[in-house]
Amino acid sequence: MREVYVAGIGITSFSRLEYPLVEIAAYPGLMALRDSGLKKVDHLYVANMGGGRINGQTGLASAVVDHMSLTPAGAETIENGPASGASAIKQGYMAIASGMHDVVMVIGAERMREANPLEATDFVATLTHPQAEYIYGVTLPALAGMFTRLYMEKYGVTARHLAMVAVKNHKNAMDNFYAHLHEDITIEGILDSPEASTNNPYVADPLRFYDVCPVSDGGACLILATAEVMKKINKPMIRLAGIGQATDTHCVHERKDPTELLAVREAARQSFKMAGVKPSDVSVAELHDAFTILEIAESEEVGFFKKGEGHLALERGETQIGGKIPINPSGGLKAKGHPVGATGVGQAHEIVLQLRGEAGKRQVKNAKVGFTCNFGGFGNNVVCLTFIKE
């Protein structure tokens, strides 16, 4: 197989965008073309989860390829729940590695704030089992709440640990112009003050408002290319070196131990093996912290810390920028935002920025290996990516 590199990147603000879904997709694509210096692509993959349901827009890739004047390039929409972004990157990788194409554009785009918060939560809940979960009113925050309670009882994670994740990621997002939330929250403000229960009310006990990611609009783009193409453009050689994908039971209750995120563990293992690196080699990671507990759990499952010790590493400051393994320097889903179909591409965008050394104030020093974990469903479809700076 041929090696695959990132030739260009682009992103929109992950907040509320006041233009249509097609333009949310096209804008980062145009930025990525400008970044790479390329003018054409062979193929376009567009990751999106809710276009048909929320925006009344199906066949998104066909609309985007024409909107960007990239016809007659092939174009496909990729839907794999919240893991759509990394799944689309995987498709792009395979198209180039196989020799089928030389330059592929991968876009993730979502426009969720057209729906009100209740509708948005319900839309995301449609990825649960229709007869065994959804019909009983299960939502993703509800599943995460139950998961958190189990984790707390089993490993001693406390509300303070969850708040520490939120504070860290909000702090990181302060230096990210494109982040949804620019609120430098404190433990006192969301946990200890007399007003904390109103500032930070329970959403799905024990998860509170600041334990949950916002509903965001946003788009991000990566242009993938062969080594030959990279020789013609003057961009840093960031190689997409490893991809892993794994699934787990659709219903969370069918898992032997619901606190074990087996799909995360397996996807990460595959990705590291393919890249030829170990978790300890990773300089910077973007993990799928749709809920604060997930950053802690995923940091263990991917192999950064022993199972049940992620919160202890957090206490020691090892996941901060400047720590042993900085996690979510972008602000993560928690503060950067979570436009579901775009999230995986947004994570990769941040890692490429970090490996290029272009992340500004939130730059992780000497970043050589970057890792992303894009978590679909409630851990039933996970895609992990490993990037290496050459």
Partner: protein, 250 residues
């Protein structure tokens, strides 16, 4: 015979109890003081409201324009029984809420205006305004409308307001919603926060001067969004752009 026209034009205010200042800790750890603004402070507030008349996002433009006129009317005695509360963080103006007393039993909420976005600044200010009507003025209900989706979620949904659609609200004659004392009591433990007395140093800082907001709401920064909003039929963005460029406003 001479006539003092001002005596005819100026409504006679009913003496209303003053709002006792309070403070609260925000999610970012900062302390916000909410206090009643005196009439002679209005000229210090107006310059911070005016720029937002041109911010075409989340209805800041219309709310700022209406609030500006309400503050001016209060300052020049052209509205009866109005009050203004200001929320300040380190002296900076964070929110303005205002309304008026219609009768001993009924209050009329005018506007809730956040100059510091996020952190429930607006929500805390609104809750404080309701506290003023229900707990201090001892009114039975407050009539409310929302001009933005954010307002609708914050007031109508969070407080589960009752419909009073047969009563036109003073803001545009829109159908009113009502926060009754019973609804306020239900929300008291979850949505209404604040402590008294305000520590002297906080109150002194707040009263020393109303400082401009350091990060006021802005229009869309994204070029593409800005381009599209220029196509808006109100042309507000276009006017604002020309104003910034020093060009002639048509």
């Amino acid at each position: 015979m001479s006539v003092d026209l001002e005596k005819i034009l100026r409504p006679v205010d009913t003496p209303l109890p003053k709002f006792p200042a309070k403070y609260m800790t925000l999610a970012n750890g900062q302390e916000m003081v909410v206090r009643q603004a005196e009439r002679d402070e209005i000229p210090d507030i107006l310059p911070h409201v005016e720029p937002l008349i041109h911010v075409e996002r989340d209805f800041y433009n219309i709310v700022a324009a209406r609030l500006y006129s309400e503050l001016l009317a209060y300052y020049t005695y052209r509205v009866q029984d109005e009050y203004v509360l200001v929320a300040q963080i380190d002296g900076e103006l964070a929110a303005i809420v205002n309304g008026r007393s219609v009768s001993p039993d009924v209050g009329m909420s005018y506007h809730t205006f956040s100059l510091r976005r996020g952190l429930r600044v607006g929500a805390h200010a609104f809750a404080t305004k309701m506290e003023y009507h229900i707990d201090i003025l001892k009114q039975k209900e407050v009539l409310i409308v929302a001009e933005s989706g954010i307002g609708f979620r914050r007031w109508m949904i969070e407080y589960n307001l009752e419909k009073r659609f047969h009563i036109p609200h003073e803001l545009g004659g829109c159908p009113s919603w009502s926060l009754t004392k019973e609804l306020f009591d239900k929300a008291r433990n979850t949505l209404v926060v604040g402590r008294r007395p305000v520590p002297e140093h906080l109150l002194a800082k707040a009263k020393a001067g109303i400082l401009p907001p350091s990060d006021p709401p802005k229009g869309p920064e994204d070029l593409l969004a800005a381009t599209r909003s220029m196509l808006d039929s109100t042309a507000t963005s276009l006017i604002e752009m020309r104003r910034k460029q020093g060009g002639k406003i048509q």
